[in-house]
């Protein structure tokens, strides 16, 4: 087995171990509740019958490790139990919501990735120019601004003032694709603004990093044209950092999505999570957190593995 395969396998093993630890944390965090879990969840005013029903539903008479094994086993095969708030099957709700969230995130990624990479490379090339400074001010403003501020400015201007787009993203499965796209435009733009700023900054930094290496200086001293240096010499070595930037920012989309979904009442996984947290609907919160955390860990893992595969130096060592 060569060293690349070994490296990749190692990362995979670490990723799986992390997922297991996260599942332990998500499950046993609930055990930290002082006193009787059912009592605490239902509050002081709960009737004894309600409490005993809940105890039975959560299998609180069994030892915790047994419940964990059942819970994780169920989660893996897609059985997440029932919601405490409305008794509905969690898996069914989550699948539908997850689809909506992926639709929104994919839409935002589709716009932001090309823009951010383009702007990031251009600002690195024209470093110190007015264009670079303007772009940097935009980045600073965008990452310092709460997502909900951007969301409501867009709602106020584009939805209410000019009536171009609906302010509330009323999405359901029966909608034709274009209509769905149209209703998702505003949340997607909000997410795009935030993610583009982060991604652009990281792209610029990694290109500048490469431009300061000795071999680029050598190319400059040889008298090569600027565009040739960038396209032929710098860019071919930039793929590793750029892939990393893109994947890491997709992971960033995950947390951005929660706030944007609440601002636009977009029926995604983030809105479900926030609703369930305020209702203290523990099984739903646990499932949502597991999915978010798993996506985040997998994306980071993907970034790691891709950069191992794309790094020519790692391949030579093999």
């Amino acid at each position: 087995m060569n060293s690349i395969a070994r490296l990749v396998l190692r990362r995979l093993a670490i990723g799986i171990a992390l997922l297991l630890i996260v599942s332990l944390l998500v499950f046993f965090a609930v055990e930290l509740l002082p006193g009787d879990i059912a009592q605490v969840l239902l509050g002081q005013s709960a009737t004894p019958e309600a409490i005993s029903t809940l105890r039975e539903q959560m299998h609180l008479d069994q030892p915790a490790w047994l419940r964990y094994v059942h819970w994780l086993g169920g989660f893996v095969i897609g059985d997440m139990g029932k919601s405490l708030a409305n008794g509905q099957d969690i898996a069914k709700t989550i699948w539908q919501r997850l689809g909506n969230t992926i639709f929104l995130a994919a839409f935002a990624a589709f716009i932001s990735v090309p823009i951010a990479l383009g702007l990031g490379i251009l600002t690195a090339i024209w470093r110190g120019s007015i264009f670079d400074r303007l772009a940097n001010s935009f980045v600073l403003a965008a990452i310092s601004t709460p997502e909900f501020f951007l969301a409501y400015i867009l709602i106020g201007v584009l939805a209410v003032k000019f009536g171009l787009f609906p302010s509330i993203s009323n999405i359901n499965d029966g909608l034709p694709f274009l209509e769905r796209l149209y209703r998702t435009v505003l949340p997607a733009i909000t997410l795009t603004l935030v993610v583009t700023a982060h991604m652009m900054r990281m792209t610029r930094a990694s290109i500048i990093n490469i431009l300061s290496t000795p071999y680029i200086e050598m190319a400059q001293l040889k008298g090569l044209r600027h565009s040739v240096i960038i396209l032929r010499h710098a860019l071919s070595n930039s793929w590793v950092p750029i892939i990393n930037v893109v994947v890491l920012n997709l992971a960033y989309l995950i947390t951005g999505v929660v706030i944007v979904e609440v601002a636009f009442v977009y029926p995604g996984l983030g809105l479900l999570l926030v609703d369930s947290v305020s209702k203290r609907d523990v099984p739903v919160v646990q499932s949502c957190c597991m999915i978010f955390a798993a996506t985040y860990i997998s994306l980071n893992l993907l970034a790691d593995i891709l950069s191992i595969l794309a790094n020519p130096r790692a391949q030579e060592r093999g």
């Binding site: 996260v22 106020g156 947390t255 929660v258």
Partner: protein, 275 residues
């Protein structure tokens, strides 16, 4: 590079403005009771009244004075973010320096714990913790401080690792100085500058984070005046083209932009002076 920017005492206008903005926020937070015309929970009139000389920015969804709540909000939102950041730094720096100074299995275990916490998105982790422990100010501060201290830990440890290989540190260690002495006298003075910049950036992050949680209805709880919750409570006004609910959001943005610009400038300057 112009001769102006070489001058050590030269401070660009952009930065002077940013510093004054930060100063205004601090003053408003300190003197909120004197500046605010009404109390933060006081109901002074009808709901959603327009701007007038009595109620400068009108009233909110319960008939409370928006201008007064904005001023009280400076104290609550900025104050709690500041306390949280201080706690974040305390935890992160103490453990980070301990890990670097002692090394060995303590370093190994602390670093692995941090790896695990950082593998979970912090918004998701804090939502999970807030479900379990409820949404009081104390749990909010503790949960965010613990989650964020991981980043401070990594920085403090990394910077301190540069110190522990220096001769003077090795000598002090051979003198069998206690760990606390090593940290306080040998490491801390040498790692303060990078940590100071990190403090500003971390504060912005914590501030935005708490505001986001408040906006989600899971941060500071009503009736406390807080900028994030104020946006949430009055967001519906935007459908009538009344932009008052955006003022607290703008207040958040302006403060973080000001701090970030100052920190960017400080970082830039320290980089230049090293060249």
């Amino acid at each position: 590079m112009t001769s102006q920017s070489r001058n050590k005492r030269y401070v660009p206008w952009r930065i002077r403005i940013a510093v004054s903005v930060i100063a205004v926020y601090v003053l408003v937070a300190l003197f909120a009771p004197l500046l605010a015309p009404y109390g933060q929970t006081e109901i002074v009139g009808r709901q959603f009244m327009g701007w007038s000389s009595h109620y400068l920015l009108g009233t909110d969804n319960l008939g409370r004075d928006v201008a007064s709540r904005l001023i009280w909000g400076a104290r609550n939102s900025v104050g709690i973010a500041l306390v949280t950041t201080l706690l974040t730094f305390f935890i992160g720096v103490v453990f980070g320096l301990l890990a670097a100074a002692l090394g060995g299995w303590i370093d190994y275990i602390l670093s692995r714990i941090v790896d695990v916490i950082m593998a979970i998105p912090s918004l998701i982790a804090s939502l999970m913790m807030l479900t379990i422990f409820g949404t009081s100010v104390l749990t909010l501060v503790l949960v965010i401080a613990v989650l964020e201290s991981t980043r401070v830990f990594r920085l403090a440890r990394a910077v301190a690792l540069g110190v522990v290989v220096q001769d003077y540190f090795i000598v002090a260690k051979m003198r069998k100085e206690p760990a606390l002495y090593l940290i306080r006298e040998e490491i801390l003075p040498n790692v303060l500058p990078p940590l100071a910049v990190e403090f500003g950036l971390r504060f912005c992050f914590v501030f935005l984070f708490i505001s986001a949680l408040s906006f989600l209805g899971l941060g500071l709880q009503p009736p406390l005046a807080d900028w994030g919750s104020m946006v949430r409570e009055n967001a519906m006004m935007i459908s009538f083209l009344i932009f008052t609910p955006l003022i607290p959001a703008a207040a958040i943005a302006v403060l973080t932009i000001a701090i970030n610009s100052v920190m960017d400038w400080v970082l830039d300057r320290s980089r230049q002076s090293r060249l």
